[in-house]
């Protein structure tokens, strides 16, 4: 066995990958191999230094701690794993996630949780533009603020923003639920403020509980959703298209 093989075996068994010396490809392959043969459930990724595509396509109940900043698409298409970025995350963190949990301790760039079908995404800092774009069932909690066009064409799931929202929130919204505590710069086409009824307080309370958010009161939030006026084309709405 070569020295490299020894190092790799060791990394696979103890779940520590140092991206200063090992590649993202090696890491991802090792994580994917866990689907077939589980060798370790607790993983640590050292020196990520903004590299892209870290821990994408994971399909196993693993805990993965990324010790630093991650680049684009970190935790993309995640299934089952609980992934934490101990730093900031680049564009498209947890994009198309199916299940599991992704937590970003810092800020996230644009398109966080884009098109994600399930699971829970928690961003402890701010999120950039298009947070939750085309979300399809994921629940997203942003403890800070979100940028413009967030929840654009949101289909299902919950986006909870503890700070403010930028322009055109929920544009062309389908059935995603949006809750914002702070100000909303503007609402997108077909997105309206809706009454916060007891079931929504309950929904948000349960979400905060799942996300480990203890310093927020759901009663302080406003609810936004689809007016459902653009669901079927009507010429009278031409200006909105």
């Amino acid at each position: 066995m070569t020295t490299n093989n020894l190092a790799e075996k060791s990394a696979t068994e103890n779940g520590v990958y140092d991206l200063a010396v090992q590649s993202v490809r090696e890491l991802n392959q090792a994580l994917h191999d866990q689907r077939h043969q589980l060798t370790c459930t607790e993983w640590k990724v050292l020196n990520p230094k903004g590299q892209h595509n870290i821990a994408v396509g994971v399909d196993k109940k693993l805990t993965i701690d990324i010790q630093g900043h991650a680049g684009y698409y970190c935790a993309g298409m995640n299934k089952e794993a609980d992934i934490t970025v101990h730093g900031h995350a680049g564009q498209g963190v947890a994009e198309n996630m199916m299940s599991g949990t992704v937590r970003v301790k810092g800020n996230a760039s644009s398109s966080a949780g884009a098109t994600a079908h399930g699971g829970l995404l928690i961003i402890e800092g701010d999120a950039g533009s298009r947070c939750g774009i085309s979300m399809k069932g994921v629940d997203i909690v942003v403890k800070g603020s979100v940028g413009h066009m967030s929840c654009f064409m949101g289909q299902a799931g919950i986006l909870a923003v503890c700070g403010d929202a930028g322009d055109a929130l929920g544009d062309s919204l389908y059935e995603a639920h949006i809750y914002v505590k702070g100000s909303v710069k503007s609402l997108g086409a077909d997105c309206i403020e809706k009454e916060m009824r007891p079931e929504h307080i309950e929904e948000l309370t349960a979400l905060f509980e799942r996300a480990g958010v203890t310093d927020q009161d759901p009663k302080d939030f406003k609810r936004y959703g689809s007016a459902r006026q653009l669901y079927n084309f009507k010429v009278d709405n031409a200006a909105a298209y």
Binding site: Q91, H117, E175
Partner: protein, 443 residues
Amino acid sequence: MSEKRKYMTEPRESATFDRHTLAEIRRAADTGIYDIRGAGAKRKLPHFDDLLFLGASMSRYPLEGYREKCNTSVTLGTRFAKKPIHLDIPVTIAGMSFGALSAYAKEALGRGASAVGTSTTTGDGGMTPEERGQSTKLVYQYLPSRYGMNPDDLRKADAIEVVLGQGAKPGGGGMLLGQKITDRVAKMRTLPMGVDQRSACRHPDWTGPDDLEIKIKELREITDWQVPIYIKVGATRTYYDVKLAVKAGADVIVVDGMQGGTAATQDVFIEHVGIPTLAAIPQAVQALQEMGMHRKVQLIVSGGIRNGADVAKCMALGADAVAIGTAAMVALGDNDPKWEEEYQKLGSTAGCYDDWHEGRDPAGISTQDPELMKRFDPVEGGRRLANYLRVLTLEAQTLARACGKNDLRNLEPEDLVALTVESAAMARVPLAGTQWIPGANNW
């Protein structure tokens, strides 16, 4: 009799305001809505009929038509993928969604393509078990909407096609009207039943070629670099798009000309955006050649391919394979005259029916209506498609042998001439009987 009638034999129709144009003005005034339809550009465009092959004679040596081999197989995705796709014939089935087409129609496409050793492609809305079950080689489209997108299906795919656009509507998103959003379609797309589904025109998590390069690496990482990744573009600035697609890391590039069909979009989009397939191929090939990537990154061409001559001409211009959509639907039975009475009831006629978005297709193909769907037999449809694909291949082989080529990919532009100045300029082959290629060598 008026003075005017006295001197004119018949009323004069305006070339500018012809009957179709007038009818469109009236329709717009009546409804206040732009016309939405399926299929591709219907206007007359420079096309493959404007090219001819120069068969062998004294200066070239033909191959015996029925005795000597002419290879039709092609391998796609040899650049990076661990498992490139091997096709027995260079004619693939273009992306058409379950939703736009019935599940039976998708199954038939799989049956027909598999029978002759070629691939099918999913479409917006995800992968159905019917199609995966019947397609031995299935290309999974990665579209802006990501409807039904999931890593399990991604790993089941034999290739992934990142769709940036299509020839019928480069720069436009998809559309599936509420009539076709049945319970099953709605569930696959996470949409309420009966809503008009609007697909975004650009991807939600990347914006330019530098981002796309990272996105493609993500898809490769998720699939452990196993399968080829295609990039599909609608034909517009094809030279630049192909160069950027190569830079972004494509294994295969699909260029779809403006005759390429769609399930539904605005007529004005179909007829006025994009360039003809004929004009796009030389641009794509030039870009690949300049990068030293011709044949290394394979080129698939689609948009208005109807017969073996079209296939052979695409290959001669430098394509590695072609894709068919509209023609495959016709082979399945779409627009068949046997449904003429019903086409008439829908205000159309067999051969012209293009309201595929309405879900009332008498042939039971572009519909989700259970009663209409029953009219279509996927086994028979698959058999018809396989027959048609075999004919396309035999015809292309016939032409290649006549040009002395023992492999379809050995056909070359030198084998072609053009019938019109326009097609000569676009295809970059000489006008028949001359050595003139308009635009070449500054003349």
